[in-house]
Symmetry: C2
Subunit: 232 residues, 2 copies
Amino acid sequence: MANYDVKQEVTDKFSLRGRVFHKLRDDILSGKYEEHEELKEVAIGEELGVSRTPVREAFRQLELEGLIQIIPNKGAYVTGITEKDVQDIYMIRSLLEGLCARWATEHITKEQMEEMEENIYLAKFHAQKGHLDQLAELDNRFHDIMYEACNSKMLEHQLKDFHQYVLRVRKKTLNNANRGPKSNEEHEQIMEAIKAGDADLAEKLANQHMINAYENMVQSGLHEAYQKEKRQ
Amino acid sequence: MANYDVKQEVTDKFSLRGRVFHKLRDDILSGKYEEHEELKEVAIGEELGVSRTPVREAFRQLELEGLIQIIPNKGAYVTGITEKDVQDIYMIRSLLEGLCARWATEHITKEQMEEMEENIYLAKFHAQKGHLDQLAELDNRFHDIMYEACNSKMLEHQLKDFHQYVLRVRKKTLNNANRGPKSNEEHEQIMEAIKAGDADLAEKLANQHMINAYENMVQSGLHEAYQKEKRQ
DNA sequence: TAATGCATAATTGTATACAATTATGCGAGA
DNA sequence: TCTCGCATAATTGTATACAATTATGCATTA
């Protein structure tokens, strides 16, 4: 419900502008466009079968997200995302997820707590069965629950932005390594800490959870693979 | 130089769209528009003497900044910023400024270090003379230097966003209380820690610096005054 | 009187037209 | 050949026109 607003806010997926925005963001993050590549309004518009207006509005949003840079009267250039950017994001997220866990400990509702427990229970099931897609989905959802539970519109907003950023990279990670089950175990520990009302521990665990996710990504070499994929 | 990109990226101040965007953001943050007030494209356009196109583009950006909520085919509604939002922002900033100070310790250049020292020296002078405007300006600049020195595009981007958010509130604070000189003393301590290469201390001091700024704002009652001003 | 349905108005969504700015290419001159 | 300058093309910035959706108000009816 609180989530409903946010989803709407993040931008309508059904309007042309919304579709253009999401398409371009996906394409930039997935590496379809080279870094420093110029995006032309008419070209994008023709490709997606829309006029320049929705494209321009999408450009303005992408600029604010830092994915493209618009030089007035010149053009829009893809900013891309370097390996260091990803690392920085994980470090920043580590702090913010920690704060989120702390606040969630103080503000979580009974319903949210139950959904969290259900999430972990389900994830265990899918981990056993080897359903990696569902596992990734549940992993995302766990974090969303925590974002909502922290009772801070501002923090939730920030974290969802970052989450979007690394979603693509992270999904690969969960699918390819055996990070999924390990991640879920960490979720369970965080959940237990929140349930026990131990904010310090919850914060610390959430901090570490992000660092582990990053370490795993780097170790498994998937991030490098992702980077290479971008170049080709 | 690195800053040049960012300033541009934050949005051109000279295009109509840029001007509309900044005007609306200022008006929302300063409380000209009530919370939940509906913003109409034609009305805004006529008021600023522009067509709907730049207004719409500005709306899309404001939505992404979380300042308004756009409901498709219905309208744009002011989200506003509550007292709790401000508090949350300061807590988030506290963590991120700490991380920024840590990274700045590891990456600051000689030039940046010199500008920092000059900044603090100048601020001492203006503090003695009671030049509150210049003091506020130097305070902002100190933080900008640190954002640049941290060598992280992502973190710099985040912190500058937040900085914008609280700029209006903070300026009042510096102008009205004797926070200015105290703030500069804290800057000096942070600078010394960075200079000494003590990242842990720099982080801790930067953390506390934000918390102090917030505490001072609340204690001096200026934030409440700001809130009241919004309502009338 | 209160509720319903429909016509009309208001507002947003999208497309297109025109203006302003920037990039490109070619020819003249050294 | 190389450089400069200008004409032309390409591209973005803004305004307006049209379409789709939503809000409003009034008449009708139970």
